[in-house]
Structure formats: C-alpha cells, structure tokens
Symmetry: C2
Subunit: 351 residues, 2 copies
DNA sequence: GTGAAAGCGCTAACAT
DNA sequence: ATGTTAGCGCTTTCAC
C-alpha cells in the first residue's frame, strides 16, 4: 500500500508537480494532451491528494465544526442529518463536537448563559486547535443565545436557536405563523372554544406560539379567555395535569378543542381525556406541535406542526459554505426562517 | 489576530524550535529553566500548535472517522454520544459521515450487501482522503456485516453490528442472555403460557432472541409451542396483527404473557389487547425489547430490555484508541459484548 | 502554458 | 541537553 503523492503523478505523466496541481484544481489552463495524461495517471493510480498537506499550504482545512448542545436532544440528529446532506455534495467535512448539555439544562433551557465558558472553550478549540473553517452551532431549544458565542473571526451559523450577535447568523423555523395556522385549522373546523396548554410560560417559544394563537383568534373575532389557558412545562405529565384542569373547570364551558404547545404535552392531555371517557376527536379535538415520533404512536394519530429540522440543518450548512465562499444567494444573510407545515392527522373533528 | 508559530515561541524564549517541540510533546528531557521559559511564553501568548502541520509531519491526524449507516436510525445518536464521551477525554476528534441508508434499507436491514460499494467508497474517502487514523462504523441494525467493509490497513471498529472479518473488530450488546433473562422474569412471575411476537424471522437478532427465549423456557421445563409464536416484522402494526392472532386463536389457550421482540411491536400488541378490553398486566402481561422512548410513553409503562447504546459507543471509541496506541486492556480484542439490562416497569403481573 | 523552487508549521534525525 | 536542518505533500510565485 504505497503512499502516492503529487510527485509520483508528475513523474509518471512527464510533467511538473505544478502542472498536476493546475489540472487537479483547475487553477490554470493546461494543454489538452498534458491534461489528459495527468488525468489518466490519476485515474489509474487512484491518487487522492493529501488534504493535510493542502490544508497546511492553503490555511483552509475544508472542515466545518458542528458544535451541538446535546446530540440526544430531539432536534439534533435530524439537523445534523440535514447538514450532512448538504455537506456531502461539497468538498467540506464535518467535525462533530457534543457539549452534552441535556442533563445540566433539563427544562432550564434558557439558562445556557451559565454554560458560556464551556461553549466558548469548545468553540475556541474547534477554531484554533482543530482549525475548522467555520462552525455550525446546533441548539437544542429555540431561544435567543445572543452574547453567548464569542466572535472568532470565522463564520458561525446557529441552527435552531437564534442570535442577534453581528458576528453570527442563524437559521431557525417559522414559529408564530405556524401556531397561527394550527389555530386557524381548528377555527376552520368550527371550533371557537379553544383551550391552550402552554410550554414554560417565560420561554420564548411559548410566548411566540401564544402570540400566533392569539393572532388567529383575533382574526376570527374570538376573544381569548384566561380560563382556557393552562401553563405546562413542556413535559408529558404537565399536559395531563393541565388537561385535567381544563376538563374539571366548572366555571367555564368545556373547550371543544385544545392546543398543546408540543406533542409531549398533547399526549399527556390525551391520557387525561381518555381517563374521563371522552372520545378524541368526537368529544374533544386536540393538536400538538413538533411532529415528534410520539405523534404517530398515540391513538388516534395526532394532528401537529412539523418543524422541518432537516431543512434547518441543510440550510445552515448551505449558508455556512456560502459565507465561506463569500458568494451565493445567502452570503450576506443574517437569518433564515424555514417554513413549518401543518400535519393534519386524526385528532381534529369538524363541529 | 497574528498567527503565532513554534518559531515565535522559540525566539521569545531564546531556545530552538526543537526545544519548544520537546517540551510541548515531552519527547525529551529539557533543562528546568528552559522548560519554564518556554511554558511561560506559551501561556502568555495562548499559543496553540498547528495540528495540520503536525499531522503532515507525523502522518497522524488524531481524527477518528465515524461512519454511520444512518444518523436517524434509533441507535445512532446515542452511540455517537458515547463515542464522543470517550473521545473528549483524549486528543482525538470525530469526523462524521452519514451514509443515509435508512430509506434504502427500510426493513431490509440484512441487505446491506447491496450498499457495499457506497460503504467502501465512504470508507476509502475517510481513510485516504481525509486521512483519519481509524474509523468506527456505526450500524443501524445488529447483524453480521462480514465481507462488507474492506481492509484499509487502519483500525476499523464496528459498533452495534458485528463482523468476523479479521481486519475489523466489533462491539455490540448481549442479546441472547438478555432475551433469556426477560423470559426468566416472566417465568419467575408465574407465567408458563408465553406468547412470542418475533421480528422478521430470517434476521439474526430475531433468531438470537428466540434462542434466548427457548433456552429460558427449556430451563423451566416448558415446551415451546408453535401455536404461541407469531412472526412480526419489527414494526408496530405487525405487533398489533400478531397479538390479534394470538388473542383470537381458538385452538390454544390464551397466553398469560407475551414477549414482543421489540418495543414497537409491543406497543402495537398493547393496542390489540386494549381493543379486546383486556387489562394490562392483570389479564395479560407484555414485555418488549430495546427500551425505546415509546416504552415510557405507552400506558402502562412497558417492561423491556435496555441496550446500553452509550456504552457501546464509549467502548468502541476506547477500543479504537487502544488499537491506535497498540496498548490498553483491549488492544488485542476482536469483539466486546456490552451487557443489556432488564428494565422492570408496569406491564408484568405475578400470577 | 509550464517548470523550478520556496515555504506552510511542525517533528525528528543528526550533530554537537 | 540542545540546536540545525531536512522534509512531510502540497500550492503558488516567479521566471521563462
């Protein structure tokens, strides 16, 4: 298994190493016959240029660092898959770094600030140690992380989370409109009395989704009632508790439909509905958000909103490469929003 | 943002670049005072050795390629997390490559052979193009892939899947004993009449798990009956169908417990049980395998077997690094088996 | 259009 | 114990 270098190719083809380099990189015109000879030898020998040597010379590694808050978090694998999809069709590679923040941040996703040092240390290692050309930061929760990621003079693209830092840009999903559309879907099906199970009420996505819901309600001339809102914490059990509260509330009429701000809480709510021997969707409609695996596992299958995580990853990678080339439609963009899609399944009835 | 090199450090400290290299890599004794001077300058300047230059010189990149059949497959994220855990405490990094084989291999996991070219192309790129020092191949199904992965003269460790190729080694989970233990758990709880819902019956894990079940049955003097076996296909819907078959079979007494060979089919089986208005576990006990998310989502919570995927990844990374160093407890091992754990939850009753 | 050669930042053989 | 220097495999300037 001889290691074969550009010198070998040059000798074999009877040209200089410079010429070989020119044909490989198409960086200069080369006489057709020489070019063919070089190409022939390369094909015959299965020559692969040594990227390490190339990197040393060009000061570019063609590696994109992917720094993920936790690879086990729900959006991570799909986002990385999307990044990989794009990167595969380029000359770049992915260096993966897992921050493993799921345990320390469990349901305290807004407290990333405490992890600032850890994040920047990893970032600094990727950029100065591993010499990656750019980094994609994959958040596990869709909140603003401005001020967390330091400027390292290389492109930094944040996926799923957002940031207004001028040295970073971000790609995330359409949230408010998605929540509004979900609500409109309920309204279109005749629902006026709509219960809401929120996520942790001080978090951005909970507030944004509530904004979307209220927008749709307002359009339809429905006045939101506090009696129909219950604050959950994103976890399944809170969906159960909130739904129970909604069902047992004597002071207000029972809602004909309820929006849970994620699928986990929707599943919990469905348990509470089943416990009261009510039928879904005949007696009460329910919708979730996120289109997690569980939304197809529950019975009946949950109507929800799909966040196109793969597209977020793909788009983040595309943006990164375009920043790197300084060209492309997005080279100057600061932020990209990926549309979310309503997935109508079986938990909404028309009344 | 000046780029600072070993030369700068040498000048600043009044020594040669060789000496700086010696103190950084502890590759030779250096006089204490010189050493301190060098260390001081390094600390003061925040100098980070250029790994690219080092790699070119030493022909080692300190990068481990992680080639994953599909990052969206159920074991992938956790295995990568485990790899990352180990690698973090070493000097190595992870270059990630996703083969995206989920679609093409959906429920035809034994047909990897058709992907042989694609796999070896990726492998060849990692080793000859990206110049990784070793690769960890992360399977998405626990079958033997001997003959698929070519010899590339670098360590190749297969995680989750297995191979008997002499140039590769593998780390996977304890399957037969785990299935036997699961069965013993049922027997200990008084069950004798045990139904079985298999995975695709020609696949290795289905056969191995059946072997484990039969072993435990034999120990207890229970003769297995074909009437109690139904062949599923690993998917949830087949669990439902198989369970229905078991429940509606007039020629044999209804089983008091059933083993589904994975959690998905167990969930489907639970639907069929609920549909017949039977109670779990009072009327019929059920157990699954894999400890997927869904096993905590179903009601009641499913008793199942946890495959320690994180440990598989961790161990695969450890093995890889030990192969690379030619030292460590596992440097010569061909295969490692990670124990699986019974997770007793709420779906088994004592009779 | 092409080749000679310098040099990217490091390590290690060799000399002292 | 430490310094000098060749060279890892490539790109690119400069000269022709």
């Amino acid at each position: 298994m001889e290691i074969i270098t550009i010198k070998d190719i040059a000798n074999e083809a009877g040209v200089s190493t410079a010429t070989v380099s020119y044909v490989i990189n198409r960086t200069r015109q080369v006489k057709p016959d020489k070019e063919r000879r070089v190409l022939d030898v390369i094909a015959r020998t299965n020559y692969q240029p040594n990227r390490v040597a190339k990197s040393l010379r060009t000061r570019k590694t063609n590696i994109i660092g992917v720094l993920v808050e936790d690879i086990l978090a729900f959006p991570s694998a799909q986002i990385i898959g999307g990044i990989s999809d794009f990167v595969e069709q380029t000359d770049y590679n992915i260096l993966l770094n897992d921050l493993r923040m799921l345990d320390s941040l469990y349901n305290k996703y807004d407290q990333v600030i405490h992890q600032k040092d850890k994040i920047n240390q990893a970032l600094s290692f990727l950029i100065f140690g591993a010499k990656v050309d750019a980094v994609i930061y994959v958040g596990m929760f869709d909140r603003d992380i401005s001020g967390i990621v330091a400027n390292m003079n290389k492109p930094i693209v944040i996926a799923y989370s957002t940031s207004s830092d001028p040295h970073a840009c971000s790609v995330t999903y359409e949230n408010e409109d998605a929540a509004a559309n979900l609500t409109r879907h309920l309204i279109k099906n005749g629902h006026k009395n709509i219960g809401i199970i929120t996520g942790l009420s001080h978090t951005t996505p909970a507030q944004v989704r509530l904004g979307g819901i209220n927008k749709a309600l307002a359009e339809a001339g429905i006045t939101p009632s506090d009696a129909l809102i219950r604050n959950g914490d994103w976890q399944r059990s809170s969906g159960y508790t909130c739904m129970k509260g909604l069902l047992e509330n004597e002071t207000a009429p029972r809602p004909t439909a309820v929006i849970a701000m994620n699928d986990l809480m929707a599943a919990g709510a469905m348990d509470a509905i089943a416990e009261k021997k009510l039928r879904i969707p005949e007696d009460i409609s329910i919708v979730g958000f996120d289109n997690r695996d569980i939304s197809e596992y529950v019975f009946p299958k949950l109507t929800t909103v799909e966040i196109d995580l793969r597209a977020i990853g793909f788009s983040a990678a595309k943006l990164t490469v375009e920043k790197l080339c300084g060209a492309g439609e997005n080279a100057n963009k600061q932020s990209i929003i990926i549309p979310s899609n309503l997935i109508a399944r079986e938990t909404v009835a028309t009344i």
